[in-house]
């Protein structure tokens, strides 16, 4: 089974406000507020760490959930965020562009 890699889309603006991660699409100005799981995924999405490692090291310790279930849900979440062009998803590591941190500013 191939591994998935996720990276933040550098074309969105992101900022955490009182613990809520807010993201705005630069393309159409749509505003998103991420829930806790999506925020963890966003912050860990460096393009180099496989999704299963993110789930194992970042998500599972935060939630009482089976790793296999968590990975299944995380994949669905990653693809949903990719559909909104918030994240990029690939079966290959994604080279960094210009969004090295969890917040774009």
């Amino acid at each position: 089974m191939s591994r998935l890699y996720v990276a933040r889309n550098p074309r969105v603006a992101a900022r955490s406000l009182d613990g809520e991660m807010m993201i705005m699409s630069g393309r159409d100005s749509t505003l998103f507020t991420l829930n806790r799981t999506a925020t963890i995924l966003w912050q860990a999405a460096d393009g180099a760490t496989p999704l299963d490692e993110i789930v194992e090291h970042k998500i599972c310790p935060e939630f009482d959930v089976e790793p296999a279930v968590a990975l299944h849900d995380a994949e669905a979440l990653a693809r949903e965020l990719a559909g909104h062009e918030i994240l990029q998803v690939s079966e290959q590591p994604i080279p960094p562009r210009n969004a090295p941190s969890g917040e774009s500013r």
């Binding site: 603006a13 900022r15 406000l17 009182d18 809520e20 807010m22 500013r105």
Partner: protein, 271 residues
């Protein structure tokens, strides 16, 4: 051979909103007079305008002024279009032109758009809100149409100076924000006073059975603010700047919900 080219007299005035002087050139005395009336209180004798527009007047047509605005930038040149006008502006040169019929509404829209573009790079914005100064502090009252911007403006006591009943001008300054008066009017059709003051609070308006102020968490404040910021540009960089400006604002300025009954006692809470 007689000289066939007659020099057209160039008439101009400078409109200064938010401390940014914009020179407008026209060859039509009637249009100049129209602008002088429209922008009374906001005319400046600044000899160094930051932006200069040449207005090319065309015959009126049936173009729809309520059509969508398109604002895009390519190679440093902004193009602004709506049914009733077309304009270009090159920030690096500080110059541009506007093609419209002889009416004050088209150029008013162009000026609003240009101010949003300039402010976005400086951490400020235009906001759908009424605003007023009281005791040296500026208060903003934001809300969708019908929320009470006109009502709160109409109820303002004599010691409050109305900056606008419709479009507030917010500029980042030092560690805070300053609100300026604007000529951009709403239902009151009353031009604001051309003065400014530090922003003390932003109130999100709601009409209800009593007068009360309730603090709003930062994320909700940011969402509400973003919903009321005037922004037209189809430009990813500026969208990101506007986003960060709004979140920075709610981190520095108290944002509350102001529920009010429509009588003047609500102003007892605004100090």
């Amino acid at each position: 051979m007689p000289e066939l080219i007659a020099e057209v007299e160039r008439l101009s005035l400078v409109i200064e909103v938010g401390g940014m002087p914009v020179r407008v050139n026209t060859s039509d005395p009637g249009f100049l007079g129209m602008l002088q009336n429209r922008y009374t209180g906001f005319l400046s004798d600044s000899g160094q305008p930051e932006i200069e527009f040449d207005v090319d007047l065309v015959p009126p047509n049936s173009a729809n002024p309520d059509a969508d605005v398109h604002v895009s930038q390519r190679l440093g040149l902004w193009c602004l279009t709506r049914g009733d006008f077309r304009a270009e502006w090159e920030p690096a040169a500080g110059r541009g032109w506007i093609r419209q019929s002889a009416n004050p509404y088209s150029i008013d829209s162009v000026l609003r758009i240009v101010h949003t573009l300039v402010l976005a790079r400086q951490g400020g914005f235009l906001l759908h809100s009424a605003s007023a100064i009281r005791d040296g502090k500026a208060f903003l009252f934001a809300g969708v149409s019908g929320a009470g911007k006109t009502t709160i403006s109409r109820l303002a006591p004599p010691d409050a100076t109305l900056l606008t009943d419709e479009i507030s001008y917010v500029r980042r300054q030092d560690s805070g924000y300053v609100a300026f008066g604007t000529p951009f009017t709403g239902e009151l059709a009353k031009v604001g006073e051309n003065v400014s003051a530090p922003v003390a609070a932003l109130y999100l308006l709601a009409q209800g059975p009593e007068n009360r102020i309730d603090p709003i968490p930062h994320p909700e404040a940011a969402r509400s603010l973003l919903a009321n910021v005037l922004f037209f540009a189809e430009d990813e960089d500026l969208v990101q700047l506007a986003f960060h400006s709004a979140l920075e604002f709610v981190s520095r300025v108290p944002v509350s919900r102001l529920t009010f009954v429509p009588d003047a006692r609500v102003w007892e809470l605004i100090r």
